[in-house]
């Protein structure tokens, strides 16, 4: 079995599209949440989101290319290009033919779908634009990454709502570890801030009207986000052979399903995913120093995740540092797990644990060391990144410092 390392990271995020800007905001706890500007808000109750601001398609694509690409596909391609450049890689013919592109997307081209259906039902348009389907299909980010970079190996999308990016990284890890592919670009992309999608989330009554405060007693719900993160996964041997910079080892993963409620989280299913991840990585519970939590900022998620962590780690839970990046990044659904995997890899690389921003006061139901507001200088040896999706789908990644 190959050891698998992360050699490149590309992000499109609410706090910047440069990796350094992304990391600086996470460390400083500077939130990307603000008023919604990309769609009309008069019919929305929740008028805040973590938008990718100042994104200009023309800076990255021709008009002809964007005609065929929803915002989600554009985010995916921009992040994939950045990841490859960050890895210092040029795909030669052999690598291009065998490299995998496995991307998590929760909902696909929601803006294109929203616009098309508005034309159809709202304006009684007799026909839709012929690019409607290519733009809204949930695999569009994966497909455009393949076409843009010439990647011709296994390429597909994983859709598991809020765990999509994490599942994608786990599957990609498996393929590189087993030697099925020499390299994978894996992660997630999402651009879900369409009026119809936001209204749907409103109806679930889980959206905050002010901001996202994970693990805080005063938390008021989640805030939707958008963006993309793509990681380059290579074998440790290949990375060393070419003298590549490595951020961290991607050491294992665990995946479980609750087989219970469609929206309510389940501590047992979450705990089982964390245990499976530790077993896959071959690590005991006391080897873990840091958990990048799912931490959505809803009353139920954060308390349930705390209970799951306590169930898995027992006494060691007291010594764990746990933080959520969603106060800074919002909840980017299918992109969330990938953005947080990027954050976890950077935490191990820099020897700094990013804080839980917007923290106000402790909640007895979330009695963990959540690194409130201030980043911590600490070189973690091993870390987890948790993602727990609607539909009861759980995925956990294990990272190790190199």
């Amino acid at each position: 079995m190959n050891r698998v390392v992360i050699t490149g990271i590309g992000v499109v995020s609410p706090v910047g599209c440069e990796l350094q800007a992304f990391w600086d905001a996470l460390v400083e706890g500077r939130s990307g949440i603000g008023p919604i500007t990309t769609v009309p808000t008069e019919r929305l109750a929740a008028r805040i989101a973590a938008e990718v601001r100042d994104y200009r398609p023309e800076a990255h694509f021709t008009a002809r290319a964007t005609a065929l690409m929803d915002r989600v596909a554009q985010f995916g391609v921009v992040a994939a290009r950045s990841a490859l450049a960050d890895a210092g890689l040029v795909l030669d013919e052999n690598l291009a033919r065998h490299t995998a592109a496995i991307i998590g997307t929760g909902v696909g081209g929601q803006l294109s779908q929203d616009e098309a259906y508005h034309r159809l039902y709202g304006e009684n348009a007799p026909r839709l634009h012929p690019f409607t389907i290519p733009r809204l299909m949930v695999n569009s980010a994966s497909s455009h990454i393949s076409m843009d970079l010439g990647i011709r190996g296994p390429t597909f999308t994983i859709a598991s709502a809020c765990a999509s990016g994490t599942h994608a990284l786990g599957v990609a890890l498996d393929m590189v570890r087993a030697g099925r592919v020499p390299m994978a670009l894996a992660g997630g992309a999402e651009a879900c801030l369409a009026v119809g999608t936001i209204k749907g989330w409103e109806a679930l009554r889980v959206l905050s009207n002010d901001t996202c405060r994970p693990f805080s007693r005063t938390r008021s719900g989640l805030v939707l986000g958008e963006g993309a993160a793509i990681l380059v996964l290579e074998t440790l041997d290949a990375a060393r052979a070419r003298g590549a910079r490595t951020y961290a080892e991607l050491r294992g993963y665990g995946m479980t399903a609750d087989a219970a409620d469609v929206t309510a989280p389940d501590a047992e299913g979450e705990a089982a995913a964390m245990r499976a991840a530790l077993a896959d990585a071959g690590l005991p519970v006391d080897a873990i120093d840091y958990i990048n939590a799912h931490g959505t900022g809803t009353a139920l998620n954060d308390a349930t995740e705390t209970a799951a962590i306590r169930a898995v780690f027992g006494e060691h839970a007291k010594r764990l540092a746990v933080s959520s990046c969603k106060a800074v990044l919002g909840h980017g659904l299918g992109a969330a797990g990938a953005l947080e995997a990027a954050a976890t890899a950077l935490a191990l690389h820099h020897g700094i644990l990013p804080p839980t921003a917007n923290f106000e006061e402790p909640d007895p139901a979330c009695d963990l060391d959540v690194i409130p507001n201030i980043a911590r200088q600490q070189q973690a040896a091993h870390a987890l990144s948790n993602s727990f999706a609607f539909g009861g789908l759980n995925a956990v990644l294990v990272f190790s410092a190199l």
Binding site: P126, H129, P130, F131
Partner: protein, 86 residues
Amino acid sequence: MTDVFGAVTEIIAKHCSLDAATLTADTRLEDIQVQSLDLVEIVFEIEERFGIEVPPNADAESRLEFATIGAIVDGVERILGQSKTT
């Protein structure tokens, strides 16, 4: 009388980044690199411009012949003629 030829060549010229004056009724679409996805987009724009419905390709009996610009113009004029008489 609607200038169908003028409108069709304008749409195709814009789509293919060509000068409309270089297009004639005999211009073959494959010679100006119109691919299948380009063609559905051109048909969409023609439908929008004339407010007509071009029958879907599956309907072989009534499908338009899209090999040349002239054939498209004839087809559009035929549909416009039908809608006038009905």
